[in-house]
Symmetry: C2
Subunit: 333 residues, 2 copies
DNA sequence: TTGTAAGCGTTATCAC
DNA sequence: GTGATAACGCTTACAA
């Protein structure tokens, strides 16, 4: 591997000058610039990253910390992150965590060792205070998605759950339906809580009574959707005319449960999901679209901006959602 | 940020000794070990990665190069890679590429600058020779999936396309069907070619005439499946009894096309896919299961093994597939 | 077992 | 505009 010295030797120039043309920092004669560039090419010289990091005190790398990925959601976010990083000529050091302990470990090894200039993370497991302590101000950090408490402590990029949910409800209202089953996530989940608020808001804004809606709590999973919907159907409770599931998987689970009882969608019941994942597309499920790539992109750009910003007030970016209509809410009546 | 020197100062020991306990390299008295460890904790010392890389000539990092990810396939592979890396206490530097140029750029910046000790990549765009030139023996490299020519030039981890496809055909034979439509990928695609060979093999092994099968070439996409299947249906060609699509998306596309013509699966036609993605699960599609995580895991372990191996002969690891039966091939007849 | 000291390959601050 | 030279924070022979 050729080093900077080899380039110096070949050109008869100093390390300073060669370094300058590499970094396009200070002005250099066009003539010497060319000499250096030629020598670099000829020697197939590529600057050593470790040396740059050590001397320059920056890694040109963004750390990405995700929960162990198992769905399309995170991939899309990752694409957005990658795009932003590419635009800024930065690299991505990615790490996935399985549990609290793994996450702590990961944060430290990325934040405290100078591997990254900044971190973008999805934190489902640690409190703000814990993260704060671990990072210890070593690098700026941007959170994707709110944890319940994430408020003014960090930069946060989240989605507009409230208006998204409201749009779903309003969509059903327009079909003449207000007798809706809300298939929610766990009640201590931030997203679920916000979506529930949004739904309520839509009822109120339309001058309707929110008690017309039935609330059924589930797990944000396909299996959860099947299980809780089946229980509901078996309970003999009066059937609503539509379901608004707080994510696509639960929606698909609910549809599966309906199918098992001989009910079809949209003939017997309209269904709306949330997230607008690939699954929704293929299943013909009307869903609230969440621009996952945008989230990653915005979060990363914010993280990049924070690198050279010593002091700043944490900001919150909210990405807007929209409704994608498909067969599951096509009402012929 | 505390440095090694701070730890030395605090303990009165030399950098060599402190470094030894950090790296658990040479023996150190249990007593001094404890002293150092305590000092490290107290100072909240974390070794600087750049300095380690520079002095130690290794990055403890695996490079991961993927085509821009847009499906569940790559995510699973990534999880496998992450698991293997975690077990070896290595980090992951990931990069996605959009096109040939991007890929070239990416390879160089990961390989030539000492950022990574080894690389795992999925290469759909460059010839072996091109990759070879770019890497220039800077780091070992493991390919995931064959490109047509990838033969003896690189370590390769691929899947058993042949037996997978044969299993799909045999499954249909068992249902009493040999009049099958093969919905293939592009003919210059390595996977597609192998799968076609596997299908043929199954016919021959069963003593059947391969000409009983119809071959319909498509694009490995949902849209491709819809388009080509629709064309086929419109052409008035005699309908086969089953479809074996060379991936799940095309299978779903074909099913969509059938549905549009009033045909249902599995009543009117059995369908088998390939990949066994999440889509297949929710769609109730029988599919050939590909253990994507295993692929990533194996590839990464191989990549790690190669780090300290100066000379070796490229090896090929083939991961086995299996058939997952679902509703799309449930024959009541 | 522990210490000394020479790098590792850059960047950056000075002078010139 | 260009050149010395001192960091940057660690690893690792080689000595002791």
């Amino acid at each position: 591997m050729a080093t900077l010295y080899d380039v110096c030797k070949k050109t008869g120039l100093s390390t300073a000058t060669v370094s300058r043309v590499i970094n396009e920092s200070t002005a250099v004669t066009e003539k010497t610039r060319k000499i250096v560039l030629d020598a670099m090419k000829e020697l197939d010289y590529h600057p050593n990253q470790a040396a740059r990091m050590l001397a320059g005190k920056k890694s040109d790398t963004i750390g990405v910390i995700f929960p162990e990925i198992d769905n399309g959601f995170y991939v899309q976010v990752l694409r957005g992150i990658d795009n932003a990083a590419k635009e800024a000529n930065l690299h991505l050091l990615t790490a996935f965590y399985h549990d609290k302990t793994g996450l702590k470990h990961t944060i430290q090894s990325l934040a405290a060792r100078g591997r990254t200039d900044s971190i973008v993370m999805i934190n489902n497991d640690l409190s703000d205070r814990q993260v704060k302590t671990l990072v210890n101000n070593a690098v700026p950090i941007v959170m994707i998605g709110h944890s319940a408490e994430t408020s003014a402590s960090f930069d946060v990029v989240g989605i507009d759950n409230t208006n998204g949910a409201a749009a779903a409800i309003t969509h059903l209202f327009k079909k003449g339906i207000s007798d809706i089953l809300l298939l929610t996530g766990p009640s201590d989940n931030f997203d679920s809580t916000q979506r529930l608020n949004g739904a309520k808001m839509a009822y109120e804004d339309a001058g309707k009574d929110f008690s017309e809606a039935t609330i059924l709590e589930s797990f944000f999973t396909y299996e959860g959707g099947i299980q809780h919907m089946t229980e509901f159907l078996d309970s003999g409770s009066p059937l609503p005319q539509a379901i608004f599931a707080f994510n696509d998987r639960m929606a698909l689970g609910a549809i599966e449960a309906l199918k098992a009882k001989g009910k079809t969608v949209p003939e017997d019941m309209l269904v709306v999901g949330f997230d607008d994942t690939e699954l929704a597309l293929y299943a013909g499920l009307t869903s609230i679209h969440v621009p996952m790539q945008d989230i990653g992109y915005e979060a990363t750009n914010l993280a990049i901006r924070r690198i050279d910003q010593k002091k700043y007030n944490p900001s919150t970016i909210t990405v807007t959602t929209s409704l994608t209509e498909r067969k599951s809410t096509e009402k012929s009546a």
